[in-house]
């Protein structure tokens, strides 16, 4: 998010007090990011619009529950959107799977320079830690987090049993946690 954390903290504080102008500003500076989050997970523009609408409703209702000591405002809002989008995508019938063969062709990106952005410290730290994962596992984490793939969908895409995927995901997450806590 381009807006500073302080701006968003103040806007959410205003929203908690029922300030409509603060809500309008909050929508203006966050909606494109949150719509993008929903769109990728749902892969349906109308469903994404519904999820974002519900999410802002919830932000309006629950802004007073927001605790800046626990989460950054954009993280709090994105979590609301992601949870709704994931619930919705799981509720819908299983989606068609893309060609598994296409994924077999994904090269390790070790041969290509990995570009790192240094704008935000936490973004960069997570990036560095993701780079510590094997290429396939990093892709699994990104496809799950950003595109909403379930264990089942990952199993079919990567051609491994669900149990294996679960083990790999938990190991990868443990590795990420260890790396982030360093």
């Amino acid at each position: 998010m381009q807006s500073s954390r302080e701006t968003l903290d103040q806007l959410l504080d205003g929203v908690a007090r029922g300030d409509e102008a603060a809500f309008a500003e909050l929508y203006q500076v966050t909606s494109a990011k949150l719509y993008s989050v929903a769109l990728r997970i749902l892969r349906n523009s109308e469903a994404a619009e519904d999820v974002v609408q519900d999410s802002y409703f919830k932000v309006w209702e629950r802004a007073r529950d927001f605790d800046p000591r626990i989460a950054a405002p954009i993280t709090w809002m994105a979590a609301i959107v992601r949870n709704r989008a994931l619930d919705e995508v799981r509720r819908r019938a299983a989606r068609p799977q893309a060609d598994v063969a296409e994924l077999d062709n994904i090269e390790s990106d070790d041969e290509h320079p990995v570009e790192v952005l240094g704008r935000r410290e936490d973004v960069e730290r997570l990036r560095r830690c993701l780079e510590g994962l094997e290429a396939e596992k990093r892709q699994m984490v990104q496809l799950a987090y950003l595109h909403g793939l379930s264990r089942e969908a990952l199993a079919s895409r990567f051609g491994h049993p669900e149990g294996t995927i679960k083990t790999w995901l938990r190991r990868s997450l443990a590795q990420l946690k260890g790396c982030l806590e360093q």
């Binding site: 500073s4 701006t7 103040q10 102008a21 203006q28 500076v29 909606s31 494109a32 990011k33 719509y35 989050v37 769109l39 990728r40 892969r43 349906n44 994404a48 974002v52 409703f57 309006w60 989460a71 950054a72 954009i74 994105a78 979590a79 992601r82 994931l86 619930d87 799981r90 509720r91 989606r95 068609p96 296409e102 994904i106 090269e107 290509h112 570009e115 952005l117 704008r119 935000r120 997570l126 984490v141 990104q142 496809l143 799950a144 987090y145 950003l146 595109h147 793939l149 379930s150 264990r151 089942e152 895409r157 679960k166 938990r170 997450l173 443990a174 990420l176 946690k177 260890g178 982030l180």
Partner: protein, 239 residues
């Protein structure tokens, strides 16, 4: 290596999004009653949250804000420039940071998100193309992620008629004919490795992506035969 205990592992996968519908529902209920689990979920939201910040923004449809206001029970309105100016004056000590927000908004509206010099010097990790008809909902979202080297095509809409397919093309002045990038019959996602650096890679980065309506299964001639309904180009995105 660090191992996750059961609570932390479940919280991690809940936030990652890989649980089934039933497991998600159980975890969501547990979050409300088990403070230790709720704290573990919050910690994972903090850890993984920055991933969302790497996504390129996509402007939602223009009517969305008024729908939200209506749901909240506020009168539908358009924030006028005058009202905004007054708001700026009222919150004078905040105006600088708000102006920064507005600049960011303007930048994202223009499709150019980099807004600080030092950022521009860095290669962004993501490029995105939103293919849509004029002012309509996004129909296709293309993402090139240079970190994971993935090219992700998300089709968001079904073709208008059951016996038709959408076909995605890359169009470039340096190519005599459009190149087909796939046929889509439903909302679906296609992940492929990004083409390695070279001529094709360059054309993919600065060409135009177009979607035509074709007979079921794709164009019989290998070139677009139906009308082009959506198009767009990749733009840089920075977190």
């Amino acid at each position: 290596m660090t191992e996750l205990d059961d609570i932390d592992g479940l919280a991690a996968e809940y936030v990652l999004g890989t649980l089934s519908r039933e497991e998600r529902a159980e975890a969501a209920a547990r979050k409300e009653t088990d403070p230790e689990f709720a704290r573990a979920v919050q910690a994972w939201e903090r850890r993984l949250g920055p991933l969302s910040e790497t996504l390129a923004p996509v402007q939602p449809p223009p009517g969305l804000y008024n729908k939200i206001r209506a749901q909240i029970g506020l009168a539908s309105h358009v924030v006028s420039l005058k009202a905004r100016e007054q708001a700026i004056v009222r919150r004078g000590n905040r105006w600088r940071s708000m102006a920064a927000g507005m600049t960011a908004l303007a930048a994202s509206l223009a499709g150019v998100v980099g807004w600080q010099d030092y950022q521009r010097r860095q290669m962004p990790t993501q490029y995105v193309a939103v293919l849509q008809a004029d002012k309509a909902l996004p129909a296709f979202l293309l993402t090139v992620d240079t970190q994971s080297n993935m090219f992700v095509i998300s089709a968001m809409q079904k073709p208008p008629e059951a016996e038709k397919s959408y076909q995605l093309w890359l169009v470039h002045d340096d190519m005599p004919n459009p190149k087909s990038l796939g046929v889509f019959d439903d909302s679906e996602m296609d992940v492929r490795p990004m083409t390695p650096p070279g001529k094709m890679h360059d054309m993919m980065m600065d060409g135009t992506y177009a979607v035509s309506v074709e007979p079921k299964g794709g164009s019989p001639t290998g070139a677009p035969t139906g009308p082009v309904v959506f198009s767009g180009r990749l733009v840089k995105a920075t977190p």
